[in-house]
Symmetry: C2
Subunit: 257 residues, 2 copies
DNA sequence: AACGCTGTTGCGATAAACGCAACAGAAAGG
DNA sequence: CCTTTCTGTTGCGTTTATCGCAACAGCGTT
């Protein structure tokens, strides 16, 4: 978390830092927040009132504490429509598909699962054709594992719900404990590999994409089982590399940390 | 869209206006945006670079145009976890439930449907008990209609998908044309009433909640058919009033138009 | 090649944000 | 019950950061 840098607006930067502070804590008081960010109480107060005027934060009239407002949700919906992620990922997906000769897909979390946001099909005759827009449940497929392995444990528990997990094929992981162990391996390797969790004889390799420290999607290369396993090492390296590139892109070219 | 006002940070306010400009357009160039907001090119440029440094916008390296960045998505997830809306709605829900003697519910859009975010059950013996966290498809129930009637037509078409709509009871609206007509009525009346779309002999009255001009959820009063219809007029008035109050709250107490 | 556009940087004047301090209200503690 | 110590809020002089003009460079078009 560095200094604003040259040619940037300091006041705005501080305001954005205030907003980002609501990542670790849902509620902030003025003094509390000022201490956290090393600001004067008066400054924090002014920033918060400005943010409140535009709906980015909301002050509880009773407790005088602030929470994130509705404007961020509205903007998030606009961002989803606008397809920022898709635009940034497109060149990487085409590169992956060309280099490896298999279909490359971008998935994003959506509701209680994940959605196929963008797909570049392989050129060969034997190719996996993804349905863009399709939503799949969280616990199925390498793409899902690469995303939800990096979700907070509470969120995962909530998303998976109380009921038993649906089984799509022989290799679908339906046992919560087993899924948790799988997630631990995915977190360690930063890659997830699945064999025929949805479609038989199909293998996919997925890597997580992050932004601002949180997972925002996953990159997948998917194709016929023997094709992918044949070149599994390079596939893993390429997918992971592409995902890391995308993460760097999303974080603005690498100014922070 | 008024002036910043007293005791607020002007630079931050301008930066937030820049962010909000991405509501009507997904991509902005520097000059374009400067004209739109009446700013100097240099100012717009500085604001955009600071926003980019923190990941709120993302510059396409080729076209030099800006889109919303990943930070807004991250914040939106934090806002959802934090339950800003729930906190603001709680007192209104309890008031509704007490005054009308029926259960009051807050619903929010979630994935391709809507989720029960908060519920205050009626105190009587014959009460509807909502399952908090449950996700229902967009086309079912007054709560859903009150939300998705105010979605852009393109989004609605995408959400409802290509396939036929699932039927839950005799009164479920499954015909797209019929649904569109229903939505028109809901937009006109700012209220939606449904009889037994999910559960037989249950009637619900729902009104939309807005923030920054976009629908962010719906308030519902739900109970046994004859109980609700008996006092339908006051119920409609109360639900609509509560929804409008919540909208005002979310917009920061009424600074903006 | 000249033009119109774009995005980007420099720099001085000025207006705005800073941050100290003082104030009020609430909660906590004796 | 009064004191203490937080809290959030406002005023105001100083300074600093922002403004906005202008000049510059990179493209695409006419």
């Amino acid at each position: 978390m560095g200094e604003p840098g040259r040619g940037t607006a300091k006041t705005l930067d501080r305001g954005l830092l205030v907003l980002l502070a609501f990542q670790h804590r849902t509620e902030w008081g003025v003094s509390e927040l000022a201490r956290e960010l090393g600001l004067d109480k008066a400054v924090a107060h002014r920033l918060l009132t400005t943010l409140a005027h535009r709906g980015f934060v909301l002050a509880d009239p009773d407790t005088r504490r602030y929470r994130l407002g509705a404007a961020v949700g509205v903007l998030a919906r606009a961002a989803e429509r606008g397809g920022t992620l898709e635009a940034a990922a497109r060149p990487l997906l085409t590169a992956l598909a060309r280099e490896l000769g298999e279909s490359a897909i971008l998935n994003v979390p959506h509701g209680a699962g994940y959605r196929t946001a963008l797909a570049v099909d392989a050129t060969g005759p034997m190719r996996y054709s993804a349905i863009v827009g399709e939503t799949l449940p969280a616990h199925g497929g390498a793409a899902g594992h690469a995303i939800f392995a990096f979700y907070p444990d509470d969120d995962v528990r909530r998303l998976l719900g109380a009921g038993p997990l649906e089984r799509f094929s022989d290799t679908t992981v339906t046992d919560p404990d087993e899924l948790r162990a799988l997630y631990a391996r995915v977190r360690r390797d930063r890659v997830s590999i699945s064999h025929g969790e949805y479609d038989l004889n199909v293998t996919s390799v997925a890597a997580p994409v992050f932004a601002a420290g949180e997972v925002v999607g996953s990159l997948v290369v998917i194709g016929p089982h023997h094709n992918v396993t044949e070149k599994i090492d390079t596939t893993i390296a390429r997918v992971r590399g592409a995902a890391e590139s995308l993460t760097r892109l999303l974080d603005g070219g690498g100014a922070e940390e």
